[in-house]
């Protein structure tokens, strides 16, 4: 169909535009999906961390971390080394577990076998005081799963 005719027929023109839009969208999304393998699993990690702490699943929690992982938490001056020590720290809350909710993920990047994650959380302690903060996770893809190598939690600036 000649272009002059095509543009004078709104139905054909709109269909063409829609197909162009779809092709553009797919072209934009495809490289992102291909370049970031296992991104979906990476994105699930903060939620798993929050759930395991909140539910007291300390064995599962320890499995999220590498054996030589580092957890640095600015707001209570905690620097914990290794999955065992990290799990034991949270196990210390047994009976009055904090409830952790991931409120936002604003960074999720896979670089080969390294994953970077960042976002925000809200911790409600048993005495009902709430700490809102930001987390950073450096993760490694090992044996078919992401594991946390470094976690850095900082308190959010008061609103």
């Amino acid at each position: 169909m000649p272009i002059a005719v095509a543009v004078t027929q709104p139905g054909y023109f709109m269909t063409l535009m829609r197909q162009l839009l779809l092709a553009t969208s797919l072209a934009l999304l495809a490289p992102l999906a291909l370049a970031q393998p296992h991104k979906q699993e990476l994105d699930q990690l903060p939620g798993q961390w929050a759930a395991h702490v909140s539910n007291g699943d300390f064995g599962e929690l320890a499995n999220l971390y590498l054996s030589d992982a580092l957890l640095h938490q600015d707001f209570d001056q905690q620097e914990l080394h290794g999955s065992k020590q990290i799990a034991e720290f949270y196990a210390g809350y047994a009976g009055h577990l904090p409830k952790i909710v991931i409120t936002k993920i604003n960074e999720s990047r896979v670089m080969d076998a390294v994953g970077l994650l960042g976002g925000s959380f809200s911790i409600t302690y048993a005495d009902q005081h709430v700490v809102k903060g930001h987390f950073s996770l450096v993760c490694q893809w090992i044996d078919g799963k992401w594991q946390i190598e470094i976690q850095h939690n900082v308190r959010a600036k008061p609103e």
Partner: protein
Amino acid sequence: MRAPAHNLTAKAATALLAVSLLLHSGINAAAEPFEFNAGQLPEAAGMIKAMQAVHVTAHQLVIESKRWHHRVVVFVYPSKSKKVWVWDSVAKSREVKADAANPVAVATAWLRQMGIGDKVVNASFDDPLATLDHRENSSQR
């Protein structure tokens, strides 16, 4: 009369475009309030080591103004590209337009991107891996 498949295609295209635009614009969006955390960046050494293991060039950058000093991680990704990213504990990674080998240029571009008006007095690449190696050696003893 338009076929139902056309409506579906249009909705899918619009949704995909919106998602893809969000993914791209989110990188530069100033979403978080900024707060300096006393110049600490405990994830720096491990992050740089992990990145270097997958051939991503990364350095710790120490930025100083008249009022404060701050640490971030600078990395080039994808490797061999000219895309320079700056990682901060709160702001996470932001792409900056600067020469990756020029610490003052990277610091200046990042502060501008963060909307911070302070002038960079000094900026230099620091190597936190020396500290990490020291820790690893100590723990092995």
